[in-house]
Each structure stands twice: as structure tokens, then as C-alpha cells.
Amino acid sequence: MLSVTIPYRLGVASRVVAAVCGSYAVAACAAILLALGLPMDRLDAAITGSLTAVILMPFVAISCFWVRSAARAWAMMIGLSALLGVLAMTMGWQP
């Protein structure tokens, strides 16, 4: 922490919000997509989807901290949730 400036602190705060909310949104969309898309009984698909989502979530959260900027972190979170969400909608998800 060489130069702790206000823009730096805002950037960190922004990444924290992106990591917390974004990783949950991405994980939830992944869970929904898998629950609807996996070729199994609906309960089996739902459980498999949720298990995959909670394993995925910490890695998505961590990625918010190693991308170059807070803006990229946000772009990644919004992009991934949108992609997974739209794919889920094509499977019949009604948000």
C-alpha cells in the first residue's frame, strides 16, 4: 500500500461490491441455467446446479480482485450474469 489515495479506496470499495453482489448473481444465474438445462430429473438438475454454483462462486469473487481495474470487474460480472441469464431464459426461465 504505497499510495493510498481516495480514487484507490473508491476502486477497492467498487471491487468489493462487484465481488459480493456480482459473484452471487453469476452463481445464481449458473444455478438456474443448469437446473433448467441439465438432462436429468428436475430435482437432480436443481441440486447439481446449486452445488456447481456454490463451488464456482468463490472463484468468480476472487477474479474481481485480479482483473486490471474495478470497471473491468463490473463489466465481467454484468456480462457473465447477462450471458447466463439470457441462456436460462431460452431454456424457459421467467425471472
Binding site: 444455478a31 430435482l43 441440486i47 452445488l51 476472487i62 485480479w66
Partner: protein, 491 residues
């Protein structure tokens, strides 16, 4: 670029670890103790004889007592006594609260048994944190998910794991805390990862319900029915006494083989629509699968038998069973206990490391973290010890005895946090560590000196020796830490 990657993840490890550290410390400590939840139950109810139990008789007596003392309850939930847990724990709703009583397996009555939550307290506190539903559970599952972040970034932060592992530099302040932290973290790393992930799984329906809701088109009731299959019959309003339960329990016991009975639930007791569901106990296999039999409580006829067969639910149960250590024999239980202690210690050293690395004694943040650390790392175990001591010192027939035991714990903890906040920092740590050592050492003293069952022999069996010996070992560890800190003033 690679150096930047490692720096970013180290930063995340330090700060995420700090933010969730105190919560994780509490969850890890309570979880470690609940590995021996049944043994603590036995220790905290010394009036009850330990050893083999006639479960059918215990179940029949418990329901007989409940029929007169909890006749109005919508349902009875009975955790039946077994070879490890010598008392039957019954609970039922009364108004908006749940009431629980420890019942004798011989008479079915709570008379003459000190009322105490026993090991059940640590088990509940581990994931409900003494908070109203669902907040405690939500906090616990978020903490578990954050623990995964801390572990994954920790592997990168302390990447030279094996090199660091063989360098334990003692007596060197910050370096020693770092080495201790890494050794504790690495030695049981597979356990730490497993327990964090399976911890999330135990609360997954609360934390990540969206996949299930999407697959069931938002029909929460249908999802619950599929997740937890049960026979449901609405209350009819026509009274009917419970049919003799002994034949039902015998039939269930025979079907379960050697597993024994774990729980008996009676829904709509005293109504024509009453249902008795008997669930199988633990089997010596990791993939504990649900197995239960439901009876019509008015006629004794079998309504249905359920054994989990669905693959994903079996996987879920496997992960759940791994977290609970359900398959575990005594040796595996000790392995879980020791790994849990290492996890607790890794969290404690990590928290201490945060202040040890930043020697800026005048900063407010530094002082806050340091004082909270003392109140949690030394204050929490002292408060847990007070809970066990209160179990021996409070009068047996005190009204609301179980609640007062828990209150003793939280008053002691509050006092420790207050002391850590107000005491001169040069003394706070070593004095609180000293208090923790004395409180833990007082457990066996209170146990051995408390009057035991009138006329009964002092049951100095494996449970008593185990609990008292562990308390002494922990006391010695805290005494040693207090002595070490004496030389360094603060850790």
C-alpha cells in the same frame, strides 16, 4: 503480471480473512466442540446412566410423558437416547417458541435430570449463532463461502507452502505467528477445504434456492416435498389417543438393521390424523442415506417407507454426512476434532498476524482489531468453559436452568470483551489468556468436586475422562500462551 496477481490475492486473503475472521473463529470453535456433541450431552447430564439403551422402551416412555405434558402441541420431535447420548431430547412448539426437555430413557420424565442444552448448545450455536431464523444461518453460510475465498487466496499467498512448512521459527514474534499460521493451515488444508464447502452444502437450500425455484416454476411447496419427502395429513379436529407405539418402534428397529433409531416425529398427536415417523440412526458408511418409516398413529398401520435413491440427493447427503462426520467411528471423530482445533488455531493466528504485521500502536484500527482479538481468541474459550462450569455449579432444580446456563456463557463473554476494550493493552492479552487457562482448568475441578448422583458411583468413564482431560490440555495451552505473551507484552 504474475507478481501483481499474487499481491492482489495476498491482499484479498488478509482483508477477507480479517472481515470474516471473528465470525469464523466462533463457528470453527463451536463446530469443533460439536464433534463430541453427544459426549458433551452425556457429561452435562451426569444423572443419566451411560451405556446401552433400550430404544423402544425409551421411545414409548417419552411419548407417554409427552401425551400428558405436551398434549396441545402440533407436533413432537424426539431425539432418542442411544449408546452415546444417554438422554432423550424432546421438543415441541408452544406458542411461537420451541420448548425442549431432556427425558429419562427409563421413565420418560424430566424429573431429577438437570435441564441443560448440553452439546446441543454448541451444535446450534455453530450455525445459528444465537440469532433468530434465518439470520444466524444466513450469516453462517456467507461466512463459509467467504472461508472458501480466504482458503483459495491463502494457497496463493502462502504459495511456497512446502518450503514454509519446514521452517518453523519459534520465539521470533511476527515470523513465528506466520510460520504457525502456515503450518496449521497447510497441515489440515484438505480438511479445511472440505469442511468449508460441505458447510455451504448443509445450508444450500437457504443460500442458493434459485435453481430449485426455477426448475419448479416457483412452486416452493412442491420443491420442499421433493427435497424432504414426508407423509402429510391435515389435522382433522377429532381426538384419538396414540395407538401403542411399541410395536411400531419394534417394526422400525427391525427394518433398520443395526443402525438403531435416531428420531421419532409425531405430527398431530392426539388427533385422528396423527402420523408417527421413525428415522434410522447412523450407519458405518460415509453416504448416510435417509431411511424412515411412517405409521398411522391412530391404527399403527405402516403408511410408507422411504429410502433415498435419487442420485443428486444422494450426492448432497454424502457431502452433508461428510460435514457432520456422521459415518465416523471414535478414531475419525478424534481426527475431526483435532483438525477442527487446527482450523480454529489457524484462524486465531491469522487474526493475531494481522496486528503483528502492522506495528502502529497508535492507530485506532490497529487497537480495535487487537482488542477484539483478545476478546475473541481468549475471551470466547473462557466463556465456553464457564458454560460447562455453570452446569456443575447451578442448583439442579433451578427454574429455566438451561437458559441460565447459556446466559452465564454470554455474560462471561461480554465481560471478557469489555475487559479487552478497557484494560491497558500491555496486560489485556496475558490476563485474558490467564483467565481462559484458569476457567478451563476449573472444569475438571468442578466436575470432580460436584456432588454426583445421590447413592450412585462417580461415573469416571471414558466420557468424563475425555472431557476433563481435553479441558486440562486446553488449559495448559492457554497457560503456555499467557506465559509466552508475558515476555512479548502483546502477541
Amino acid at each position: 503480471m504474475r507478481e501483481g496477481f499474487r499481491q492482489a490475492l495476498t491482499w484479498l486473503h488478509n482483508w477477507a480473512g480479517l472481515v470474516v475472521g471473528w465470525l469464523l473463529l466462533v463457528i470453527a470453535a463451536a463446530g469443533t466442540l460439536s464433534v463430541f456433541r453427544q459426549e458433551l450431552d452425556a457429561w452435562m447430564h451426569p444423572e443419566l446412566a451411560r451405556g446401552p439403551i433400550d430404544q423402544v422402551r425409551a421411545g414409548a416412555e417419552a411419548t407417554r410423558w409427552l401425551a400428558t405434558h405436551a398434549a396441545q402441541a402440533p407436533a413432537w420431535f424426539i431425539d432418542l437416547a442411544d449408546a452415546r447420548s444417554p438422554g432423550t431430547l424432546a421438543y415441541w412448539a408452544q406458542g411461537t417458541n420451541f420448548v425442549s426437555r431432556t427425558l429419562s430413557p427409563l421413565t420418560g420424565a424430566p424429573d431429577g435430570i438437570r435441564q441443560s442444552l448440553g452439546g446441543e448448545f454448541f451444535y446450534r450455536f455453530h450455525f445459528e449463532l444465537q440469532l433468530p431464523y434465518p439470520w444466524g444461518r444466513l450469516l453462517a453460510v456467507v461466512a463459509a463461502e467467504m472461508m472458501l475465498v480466504v482458503l483459495i487466496t491463502g494457497i496463493v499467498a502462502h504459495r511456497r507452502i512446502f518450503k514454509d512448512f519446514f521452517t518453523l521459527r519459534t520465539g521470533k514474534g511476527q515470523r513465528s505467528w506466520l510460520d504457525g499460521h502456515v503450518v496449521l493451515g497447510v497441515l489440515a488444508l484438505p480438511f479445511h477445504l472440505m469442511i468449508a464447502l460441505t458447510g455451504v452444502v448443509t445450508l444450500i437450500t437457504l443460500f442458493m434456492p434459485w435453481g430449485g425455484l426455477a426448475a419448479y416454476k416457483g412452486d416452493q411447496a412442491a420443491l420442499s416435498r421433493d427435497l424432504f419427502p414426508a407423509i402429510e395429513r391435515p389435522r382433522s379436529g377429532h381426538p384419538m389417543p396414540l395407538a401403542p407405539i411399541t410395536p411400531m418402534l419394534r417394526a422400525a428397529e427391525a427394518r433398520f438393521g443395526g443402525a438403531g433409531i435416531s428420531t421419532i416425529n409425531v405430527v398431530n398427536p392426539g388427533d385422528v390424523a396423527q402420523v408417527v415417523t421413525v428415522s434410522a440412526g447412523e450407519q458405518p458408511s460415509i453416504a448416510v442415506q435417509q431411511h424412515n418409516i411412517s405409521f398411522d398413529g391412530s391404527t399403527g398401520r405402516v403408511l410408507g417407507e422411504f429410502v433415498e435413491q435419487r442420485p443428486a440427493k444422494r450426492l448432497h447427503n454424502l457431502l452433508y454426512g461428510l460435514h457432520m462426520g456422521r459415518f465416523a467411528g471414535l478414531a475419525s471423530r478424534w481426527f475431526y476434532f483435532l483438525s477442527g482445533l487446527m482450523l480454529t488455531a489457524a484462524i486465531a493466528t491469522g487474526l493475531i498476524l494481522w496486528t503483528a504485521k502492522r506495528r502502529r500502536p497508535h492507530g485506532f484500527g490497529h487497537a480495535l482489531v487487537d482488542r477484539l482479538n483478545a476478546g475473541f481468541v481468549a475471551g470466547m474459550p473462557a466463556a465456553f468453559a464457564i458454560f460447562l462450569i455453570a452446569n456443575r455449579l447451578l442448583p439442579d432444580d433451578l427454574p429455566l436452568r438451561a437458559e441460565i446456563e447459556t446466559r452465564c456463557l454470554f455474560i462471561a463473554w461480554g465481560a471478557a470483551l469489555l475487559f479487552a476494550a478497557l484494560r491497558d493493552r500491555a496486560y489485556a492479552w496475558r490476563e485474558l489468556l490467564g483467565v481462559a487457562a484458569i476457567a478451563c482448568a476449573a472444569i475438571p475441578i468442578a466436575d470432580l468436586s460436584a456432588a454426583r448422583l445421590p447413592g450412585g458411583p462417580a461415573a469416571l468413564d471414558g466420557v468424563a475422562i475425555g472431557v476433563d482431560a481435553v479441558a486440562l490440555a486446553v488449559a495448559a495451552m492457554f497457560a503456555g500462551s499467557a506465559w509466552l505473551v508475558r515476555r512479548h507484552a502483546t502477541p
